[in-house]
Symmetry: none
Subunit: 410 residues, 2 copies
Amino acid sequence: MAKALLLICDGLGDRPIADLGGKTPLEVAAKPNLDRLATEGECGIMDPIAPGVRAGSDTSHLAILGYDPYTYYTGRGPFEAAGIGMDVKEGDVAFRCNFTTVDDQMVVLDRRAGRITTGTDQLAEAVNGMVIDGVEVIFKESVAHRGALILRAKGLGSEITDTDPHHEDAKVLECQPIDPNDAASAKTAKVVNEFVKRSYEILKQHPVNVERAAEGLRPANVILPRGAGIGPKLRTFEEEHSLKATCVAETGLINGVARYVGMTIVEVPGATGGTDSNLINMAKVIVEQLQSADFVLCNVKGADVGGHDGSPDIKLSMVAKLDEMMGYLLENLPKDTFMVLTADHSTPCSLKDHSGDPVPIVFWGDGVRTDSCRHFDERSVTIGGVNRIRGIDVMKILTQLMNVAEKFGA
Amino acid sequence: MAKALLLICDGLGDRPIADLGGKTPLEVAAKPNLDRLATEGECGIMDPIAPGVRAGSDTSHLAILGYDPYTYYTGRGPFEAAGIGMDVKEGDVAFRCNFTTVDDQMVVLDRRAGRITTGTDQLAEAVNGMVIDGVEVIFKESVAHRGALILRAKGLGSEITDTDPHHEDAKVLECQPIDPNDAASAKTAKVVNEFVKRSYEILKQHPVNVERAAEGLRPANVILPRGAGIGPKLRTFEEEHSLKATCVAETGLINGVARYVGMTIVEVPGATGGTDSNLINMAKVIVEQLQSADFVLCNVKGADVGGHDGSPDIKLSMVAKLDEMMGYLLENLPKDTFMVLTADHSTPCSLKDHSGDPVPIVFWGDGVRTDSCRHFDERSVTIGGVNRIRGIDVMKILTQLMNVAEKFGA
């Protein structure tokens, strides 16, 4: 059977930059291997969600993997929680959380608890496993001051307000249901408020914080949940597309989406999510995984970091690294492997955030209707045969090329 | 008033073929008349259903005629039955059927009853018209071992399993509702099982089968229904588009779709559905019909046969015949006739089945925004002004060109 690699370069798309002579980083970079893919493949532009919609990485990946985010994306919480290895179930209400420093009036002194880096595992253990009003509370630390919370019980809602005031010197907010008549969300809000209160009671005297105080560091003495979402019911990727899939990614958010749809998650040594990431190691793991998996989703994060930092230089160096990675892949991928090369959204250096501009996409492999496009960049691909598609179309196009798609009708 | 011809070349789209120098049959064929249409018209690519979706001929024609198949396509049965002239009504449950040979333990010996060619009209008559549990049973033979069944009563469901085990030496399957709590479908399943049983009792001793046995032929001693679908409620084509329409097609499936939406069906002498079909006769009938009809749907089957056979040669010869047909049409169509030339799906020779690749489309007629595209083939049209559209868009574009479309808003 045919195999496939879907390579998503996070935030790679950009806008013309005056300092680059009115070109984008992709347009000025030397990238012979990415251009070879464009030359040998069929090119076009893709709107991750729909034209002009500013996609997040989570909503974009859902769409590209074949799950309409307007149906399935309920908030960032479930995918964040899944991304750090928590087992989110349908109906769970999940949150992203910060370890935060508050005073005894619950006024926020430091949203990130002095950017705490150690001891959060012990703090997490101290609050994990409690039961509030019959609701199971599961908490796990993530990197630095971050963590995720799952509330598990029947009949919880997720239409609630955040507790995090999002700036310092403001009081922790009371969580409330957005619609006062929504009893399911009111129940969740009540549990959240109780969880915040108990986290303070437990953490303020915790040895980790006593020690931090002794060292003159901010205590991580409360946990503030935000970004509530209810665990959606998703068919697994294998049920949806008949492909056994592995995810090779650098960030919890992407791993979370992948884990949620049942992909195998593989960690790569040296894959940091930064510009120093070892992409050749990632390529090696992809090649290895394709010995047994039918499909690999790979997300490389670095270009997005450059965009958020407003740095064309970082983007340029990431394009060079991606090109080197593509060189390795073109040499070493199993025969009969199809490739899709694209981005999950544009992160223009001028904007330092995700924009709603479309991204370039190439379909590469046997039977593809090659076109006259010779370069992989935002504007060259617009002459390609793919024209303009949406993220939700990608897996349909790929699986029909791989000849594993069902026919609709006779 | 303007008139229009929608000419659908079944399965015409293809993929690059190594033996044709990496080109498609359409790309290598000489086709001056099809290219003239592309030159004088506005070109683009079309996804019959949506990008990447592998369309059937029935679902594709529904979409192109303006009926969303995700809403209206309930299964193959209703359109198969309509295609052989049966009057399928809203709420009927219709099936495709095979005359089959079974032993007295209902084990399938030959799914096609020795590819029976004669006498099925008498066998059909013997089972037609019975009433089971208050459900009216209508059965009609089609070509060879095929037939169609309609169950008519209020409150029947169509979410049921097939009785045909789809291979020999297996026992006839019991029809069951997919959801055991679906009472409407459970009722249908019960009637189907009784129909299969009675068909065996009636047919095993039928004179046609006695005679077949005497000649050493397999008896057609049971009827196995499959592909259940409930007759959808469809507005007629005339209600939908304000156009009096005629269908000139070669296959039951397309005639079935056309009849279902109330088109007049015209049979053409010499139109065989094969590569020997007389396309000039079809063109003559089209011209004749456009004297009275506003709109003609024409489907020419041959190219699809070439694709399913994996034969670029058959496709090439069909392109030549289609070009000759187009020559006749360009000479003889009434003035003020608009034309849409397209395919219902790609049937790549390399795949021998329908693919999800888009197909070329041309809109031709007065007022069209002509473009720089000069050739009617899969890749040339991608530079055209139409860009990439979907089947469901076609009638909207055509009727506004014809100036018979309603304005939405003020």
